[in-house]
């Protein structure tokens, strides 16, 4: 039985990072940096939600943007219609979450019982449909042009918003961390590893997959709400394939199934987007930087399916194994070979 220590190396490192992030706005003058970091946090939340689907349950969704968009539009529309207070904002987030939950529940129920290809195709099609709906329903969404709205007073100060989003990120991260090590989380991992086996053990895998789908959708919606408020503007781009792709790229490149991976991915990609678009102004060749990311992504899927976090994690684990192996090999090898035969059966 592993002892539950609070002070493991990874926890300490994470704490330090969190503290650093909290301090940054107080020491840094750069407004760009604050805004960039806020965006990273928002997309970090989105990417983590995507990781729950892909990395932990093994479900490929091509429509994640629709939940992000639902959250964004919910907050934007509600804040626009009513007073822009903190209370209303929170309510709008909840409203988005409920809509997303309902949608992801039905979509999940419908297709998660079929092969993974169907879910991918269906989510692709539905999010495409919702994008068109958003474009056509001009009365509510103002279509492609979108609209601006007021954010809650308290967020006038960029720093307050930064801290608020950071808090959301930390809470989401901690929640997910507990979730994946909970019994429920572990069933999801089992489903990813071998769904048939898990089903034959008596688990109704469909239920678990739908739960993962709903959870991911709901969290993506929160990210969308935050995004809309960060820009004080919303348009159909929040429903677009680009958002799903961002989540996908961040998760894969950062490292599926690690939770920290998507955050790394979000950091890498947002920084890259920021600097490359800056470069694109001077050197037009960088305008199509997404091709480079696309190629990196393809290479990652083939050669580094565990992404940055995963590959680093593997190296670290291997290094640890080598150290302990040297210590225990002498004790174990004799013991083991006397107890277990080549076939792995006990003698």
């Amino acid at each position: 039985m592993k002892k539950q220590t609070l002070f493991t190396t990874s926890n300490v490192v994470l704490c330090m990072i969190a503290i650093t992030l909290i301090i940054i706005p107080f020491v840094s003058d750069s407004r760009t940096m604050i805004i960039l970091l806020t965006q990273i946090f928002i997309f970090g939340i989105l990417a983590m939600s995507y990781d729950i689907l892909l990395g932990y349950t093994g479900i490929v969704s091509f429509g994640h943007a629709m939940f992000f968009g639902i959250g964004a539009y919910s907050s934007a529309i509600i804040l626009n219609l009513y007073e822009s207070t903190m209370m209303i904002f929170i309510l709008s987030i909840v409203f988005g979450m409920v809509l997303s939950a309902v949608l992801s529940f039905f979509v999940g129920l419908l297709t998660l019982r079929l092969k993974s290809h169907y879910y991918a195709m269906l989510t692709l099609a539905i999010s495409g449909l919702l994008l068109v709906v958003a474009e056509k329903w001009r009365t509510i969404t103002k279509g492609n042009d979108g609209f601006t709205f007021r954010a809650p007073e308290i967020f006038r100060d960029r720093m307050m918003f930064y801290l608020f989003v950071l808090a959301c990120l930390i809470i989401t991260f901690m929640f997910f961390k507990r979730f994946v090590s909970s019994p429920l989380g572990r069933v999801l991992i089992a489903v990813r590893e071998n769904e048939q086996r898990t089903a034959s053990l008596g688990y109704k895998t469909l239920h678990y997959k739908v739960i993962a789908s709903v959870l991911a959708g709901v969290v993506a919606s929160v990210a969308g709400s935050l995004y809309a408020v960060s820009l004080r503007f919303v348009n159909t781009s929040v429903m677009s394939m680009d958002i799903t792709l961002d989540a996908l790229l961040m998760t894969i490149i950062g490292g599926v199934g690690t939770l920290i991976g998507p955050l790394i991915g979000a950091t890498v990609i947002e920084f890259a987007q920021h600097y490359l678009s800056g470069l694109a102004r001077d050197y037009p060749i960088f305008e199509r930087w997404i091709i480079i990311f696309g190629i990196i992504y393809i290479l990652a899927v083939i050669f580094f399916p565990r992404g940055i976090a995963g590959t680093l994690g593997n190296k670290y684990a291997q290094w640890k194994m080598k150290r302990s192996e040297a210590k225990t090999s002498k004790t174990y090898s004799g013991l083991e070979s006397s107890m277990v035969d080549k076939r792995g059966d006990l003698k």
């Binding site: 290809h117 195709m121 692709l124 099609a125 199509r288 997404i290 696309g294 899927v301 083939i302």
Partner: protein, 287 residues
């Protein structure tokens, strides 16, 4: 009455174009268990290279040939570099083909520019016939005819030729085909290239029909293609044809009568099919 005929022809034409794209997807899926999310990229590349060849040589026939070649070549590269490395792993394969789709779409913008390019119907096929009160647009009939020819070709190859036999056998039992001395991996490659060439053909034929080509059309038609494949049944080329016609007609009629439902109607059909008959409307036996 003229309206109905016009809408029907319209629907059939659109349906045929989607069939060309979807046929490749369904064949590849049936045989290789691979769902090619990059198929739309082959479609749009076929369109662009075909149209540019047409503009350059003033021969639509050459444009068609170039489109077919582009499809086949891109199909070759895709199968070798993208599909084979991740063969067997569904998740990786879904992810990677989508990545390729993005790269292909973006490369269009790099090579041909980000703006849409207007395309006009080749003079030989332009114009319309008047049959009584009805105006029949020649180009649409052309597309429908080509569609049926391709379907016929499919049917002939699959039922009469040795390679078609091998493909059908491979769909049922890949291992046994290998044990009979046939290099099934080689067959995969040919099937993939064939499906890709068809997508390219669909693209170049689509161009004069819609009047414009743009990078995003790959994804748009791919989505319709997937809807068709689901409705018709993955792996059934006849099912794909019927489903494509259904989707084309539904879209066409809806676009006239209830415009804002036109996109939704196909989605709704897909959802209904997935709920009640996930193996597809037209598959009788898995094969």
């Amino acid at each position: 009455m003229e309206l109905i005929i016009s809408l029907t022809i319209n629907g059939l034409a659109t349906g045929m174009l989607i069939f060309l794209l979807a046929a490749g997807v369904t064949l590849i899926f049936g045989l290789m268990d691979v769902l090619n999310f990059a198929h739309g990229g082959l479609f749009v590349w076929g369109a662009y290279t075909g149209i540019f060849a047409y503009a350059f040589t003033e021969s639509f026939t050459i444009g068609i040939i170039i489109a077919l070649l582009t499809g086949a070549i891109l199909g070759f590269i895709t199968e070798k570099l993208i599909i084979t490395p991740v063969y067997g792993n569904h998740v990786q394969q879904i992810l990677i083909t989508l990545g390729l789709m993005i790269v292909l779409s973006e490369c269009i913008k790099v090579v041909f520019g980000p703006n849409g390019i207007p395309v006009s119907v080749p003079p030989l096929l332009a114009g319309s016939w008047e049959v009584g009160n009805i105006i029949i647009i020649k180009y649409r009939i052309f597309i429908i005819v080509i569609g049926f020819i391709i379907y016929g070709l499919f049917h002939y190859i699959l039922t009469r030729t040795k390679i078609g036999l091998i493909v059908r056998a491979g769909v049922m039992n890949k291992e046994m085909v290998q044990a009979l001395g046939i290099n099934i991996k080689r067959v995969f490659l040919y099937v993939f290239m064939f499906g890709a060439a068809l997508a390219g053909l669909g693209g170049v034929l689509m161009a004069p029909y819609s009047g414009v080509i743009y990078a995003e059309m790959g994804m748009e038609y791919a989505i319709l293609g997937f809807i068709v494949v689901v409705i018709g049944g993955m792996g059934s080329y006849s099912g794909t044809l019927l489903a494509a016609i259904l989707v084309g007609l539904a879209g066409s009629f809806m676009a006239y009568y209830v415009p804002y439902l036109s996109l939704a109607v196909n989605m709704i059909i897909m959802v209904i099919v997935l709920v009640f008959r996930p193996q597809g409307l037209f598959t009788v036996v898995k094969g």
